[in-house]
Symmetry: C2
Subunit: 232 residues, 2 copies
């Protein structure tokens, strides 16, 4: 965690209630100022990423966020509710960030490249995200259902459609679009989810900005040659 925290470039907790869907605690809807809630969420994100849902303690979150426990429980009635809200703020930002790549240009290859850049920007800004999600997957927690139905399945379908459009337009090779979508996600995501192992394998911190920049270049290069159709 300490290594991750050191490489954090920025943590702009820019979530807005409007983009968070149905599951916003009522206390937040009624708040005039979200700055305290944002501080709680940012602190909780660090602690959940480090210790997991079971290991984290509300006492510690309150202390680290410099709020008293009554106020913490006013905003979030339980540890589970706070944990779920942390995941939701991250996923809504990821989804919005990736979605930015949709509308700019009709070119499928340009939209795919923009999506890769947006994903890298997101993970650099939110280094806790891969660990929080992996913990959730491994624990088969109650959140996987809505994470998949509201975020991952729409993202996967968006990516499959994008690849199909690229094939139709002659920009991409004729690949199995569903498998290609899995491949695109794999070469973006695995590097971050395997970071603790890669650190030991490579002998350096793979989350250093310079290393992440090299990885981003490698992903672009690999997609360009593996997916894009060679120009005549």
């Amino acid at each position: 965690m300490k290594a991750l925290a050191r490489t954090r470039i920025s943590a702009p907790h820019k979530w807005e209630l409007a983009s968070l869907g149905r599951r916003v605690p009522r206390s937040l809807r009624q708040a005039r100022d979200l700055s305290t809630a944002r501080r709680i969420v940012a602190t909780a994100e660090d602690i959940f990423a480090e210790q997991g849902l079971a290991g984290a303690r509300m006492d510690e979150i309150a202390r680290a966020a410099k709020v008293n426990k009554a106020l913490l429980y006013y905003y979030f009635r339980s540890k589970e509710e706070l944990h779920r809200f942390v995941l939701e703020t991250l996923l809504s930002q990821l989804s919005a960030r990736v979605g930015e790549a949709v509308t700019d240009t009709p070119s499928a290859s340009k939209r795919l490249s923009a999506m890769v850049d947006n994903f890298f920007d997101f993970v650099l800004a939110h280094p806790n995200y891969p660990r929080l999600i992996q913990r959730e997957i491994m624990s088969r927690g109650p959140n996987m259902g809505w994470i998949v139905s509201e975020y991952y399945r729409p993202l996967h379908r968006w990516l499959v459609r994008l690849i199909e459009e690229g094939i139709s337009a002659g920009e991409f090779r004729r690949v199995d679009a569903r498998n290609a979508a899995v491949t695109v996600v794999a070469i973006m995501v695995h590097y971050f989810s395997a970071a603790p192992v890669l650190r030991q394998v490579l002998g350096h911190d793979p989350l250093r900005p310079r290393e992440v920049a090299k990885r981003r270049d490698a992903v672009h290069d690999f997609l360009e040659h593996g997916l894009f159709r060679p120009r005549a």
Copy 2:
């Protein structure tokens, strides 16, 4: 777990003491017949994959393996020792299987393709492997040190060397070999480590033999176009 068990094609627990290095319990070295130990290890593998090291209980392993607890503790003095031995048997088989691809041919592209096939064969035969390893990574258990130094780092270096040889021989494009090695691993491994999520995203079992075969084809296709140099 049940879904995984159903898709298991074979579980040839073919580990031999000779290939397991230093950390073999003395009781096993002295055993005339390894069949009971193999049954214990196969059972423990299932239970550790399902419940993790903390959740698994030696009572349950003994009962499921149909041995009494005294015999279980004769072979493996502690749950931790049994868990470590389970990981070691899997990794030694993975390493041997991948290593088979090394010597057959001088062609780097053929060796890389053979390695991909061998990896897929290994994971089909050992569907617990991705989950056991992910649990180990997430828990930052005491085993990651030797797993990396004795297995993952040598495999990574072998792959980097292979890619460098392919570049020198003009078989591969001029890529960043270290990043390309990470990419090769990512497109092979992510599919299996993300299987619980992919099952929900795709709406079918990604570990069905037919789906795994399609995935294998997609990996070959992507490496061929993303890494191999186009033939003139």
